[in-house]
Assembly symmetry: C4
Homo-oligomer: 230 residues x 4
Amino acid sequence: MTAYKALKEEACRQNKMIPKLGLAIFTFGNVSAFDPDKAVFAIKPSGVPYGEMTPESMVVMDLDNTVVEGSLRPSSDAKTHSALYRAFPGINGVVHTHSTCATAWAQAKRPIPILGTTHADHLACEVPCTAPMRDEMIKGDYETETGNQIIEAFRGISPQEVEMVLVACHGPFTWGKSAEKALYNSAVLEEIAKMALFSIQIDPAVTPLKQSLIDKHYQRKHGATAYYGQ
Amino acid sequence: MTAYKALKEEACRQNKMIPKLGLAIFTFGNVSAFDPDKAVFAIKPSGVPYGEMTPESMVVMDLDNTVVEGSLRPSSDAKTHSALYRAFPGINGVVHTHSTCATAWAQAKRPIPILGTTHADHLACEVPCTAPMRDEMIKGDYETETGNQIIEAFRGISPQEVEMVLVACHGPFTWGKSAEKALYNSAVLEEIAKMALFSIQIDPAVTPLKQSLIDKHYQRKHGATAYYGQ
Amino acid sequence: MTAYKALKEEACRQNKMIPKLGLAIFTFGNVSAFDPDKAVFAIKPSGVPYGEMTPESMVVMDLDNTVVEGSLRPSSDAKTHSALYRAFPGINGVVHTHSTCATAWAQAKRPIPILGTTHADHLACEVPCTAPMRDEMIKGDYETETGNQIIEAFRGISPQEVEMVLVACHGPFTWGKSAEKALYNSAVLEEIAKMALFSIQIDPAVTPLKQSLIDKHYQRKHGATAYYGQ
Amino acid sequence: MTAYKALKEEACRQNKMIPKLGLAIFTFGNVSAFDPDKAVFAIKPSGVPYGEMTPESMVVMDLDNTVVEGSLRPSSDAKTHSALYRAFPGINGVVHTHSTCATAWAQAKRPIPILGTTHADHLACEVPCTAPMRDEMIKGDYETETGNQIIEAFRGISPQEVEMVLVACHGPFTWGKSAEKALYNSAVLEEIAKMALFSIQIDPAVTPLKQSLIDKHYQRKHGATAYYGQ
């Protein structure tokens, strides 16, 4: 038990942030924290209210989806998390929420267009939306296939540069170099989704941000010569 | 008084959750808790602010709408509650709110289309909307007829599988195997209603969720081989 | 000073509810409480933040707009309040807010259509919207003329039955038999305004509530045989 | 350090108000406070969460963008602040936020039309929106050029009378005779932006406020014979 203490504490702490940031109600949503050295991740147990969660109730799994510690059933989305850890090198946290506006775009099966610098501060293209899943994927190993659907949508897109996606008809997944960063990305995505919703209401023909401005904002936070932050 | 103590405490506790979950302002809305063994339900007194409610102020009624305990007048919607308890076997809680987005759909006299998995996690079809009531029903025993209107809308729909409805021009009613579950359903309904409102703003021609995805999500939480929760 | 103590305490208490109910930010909005025996009302001082208000800072005025007690300048809208007290018998409280959705309808110069029972529980017709003021009224005694514009809009409407109005291009005024009831009406109006906004987004051609349902809901709360409340 | 103590405390206090007023999440947004006698301003350090900020962490800069006190890197938007202090006489506070509705208008590259008296109470024209920046400005000294873009948009507009602007594709900047007033303006702008968004949803052809009403409301708060406030 001692071996995964810090990982379970981190997973618990970040899961409890989901309702505090207004990203889901009741038991919706889940966060996992990954330890690359041990190749395991700690994830929320399925259907447990955020207020009742403790580090001890977290479930530790390896990348083959075998539970290595924990007495509760893991989040039903655990296999999607492991699929992303296997496919996207360097990510140490995955978050799934049903945040209202991001989910509204996912339900509309539309990527979120890049309309402003708030968006470009975090990623340099629209927020991708997967294709709807094919029936055989849905009837197969659904949660693993959800991961595959995301991976498919990232052909030609760097998951280190674009840390968020909309799963069509479902909702958002985000990730990052830590569980905390993945959660931050979920909150940013919800804000971007809300702003874009309002912008298209003001002008349904609104045009995307021009490339020079995308580059400027993305690079000043993320480029080789970034000058944002300490 | 002792006989209904637990029931009244449960009704009071769940009523007080209505404003905490943001489902109604002032005295709008009401929750009842049903005891199938005694065939009575405890319901909010009419027009009493949530902050002032106590278990003692709850009104206990039988299914013929006779008050069996309590000195206050019951919620004016009590007869709708009893109609649902009489008609829908196995439900032990009923909730009525005027939550903003669900009521907006009810005022538009539109069922809420099933657009995403958040919806399908809870029910496998659109949220039904009753027909507007006929004048003779309105002028008759209005609150009982409101129940009848709901029951009419559920011909061919299982009230154990679909635990929510919009009463046209009025607002939502939800129910469940406990008052707590009925209240949970009210909060879920409001969230589904808000997401659907935003999705049709993004794409007015948005198409419903495909059947395979509806089945998958509904079954993984509610089917014989459900694997959600503990 | 003792003579108006209770009136000033009531005015202060209700003014402080404006930000708590989310009806205005900073110093926007104002409440007055009227004493029909003394024919004076206590109103918020102009431009004082709600957090700093005390009963002592309230301004007491008679119906000729003469300050009878208080060292601060009264709300700039005080003359609108007195015009309503003079014209509408039996009202003992007036509230003006800039609540977001009610103001949005006022800015659109549109009455709020009666679309549901939440609305009909409180008034049996649309929420009236005044005509835009004529230039000579604006350049004259503006705040008194604002009252006159409201009174003009109520030709043929009972201010005892319809306790709210939108002043075109400006925002809502509400009133009632007490300051507390007037404030309640402001919160109800904002909720009605939000629901109606969302309903017309769902169906731009949404039809008003039928008369039999308007009558039923209004009468069960306000008619001779009302059975809502205790 | 003692020389700038009060200025840094004021900058810290107003920065911490940004999340309290709901104007930005995480580290988005920044406030500076200017001392006209010393010709320096104190500004938020870059990328530091609001909860962790202290007066000591504020960065003091002169109008040539030289840091005169502080060990942290200043906000990446500091040069926009200094450009505004240099160009607009009499302003002693500048605020930049990514508040949701104001940013939505900025992303739509649209000025906010003047639709009601809430707006006219604060400025007598639409909220200006800059032109999108030219590529050579973006690739040059971007943050200074952002200030220049604002200054360009204010040809013929008094920055003492209109204390807010939308930077196209980016978001709002506001200012005022103090940092507190500049922050107040940011909250007012967000409220105006939300009301206008809702008004155009109610009536896409809504017409602007008539000039006589604009003059009346602006003058009663700001004119030579103003009678609002104490």
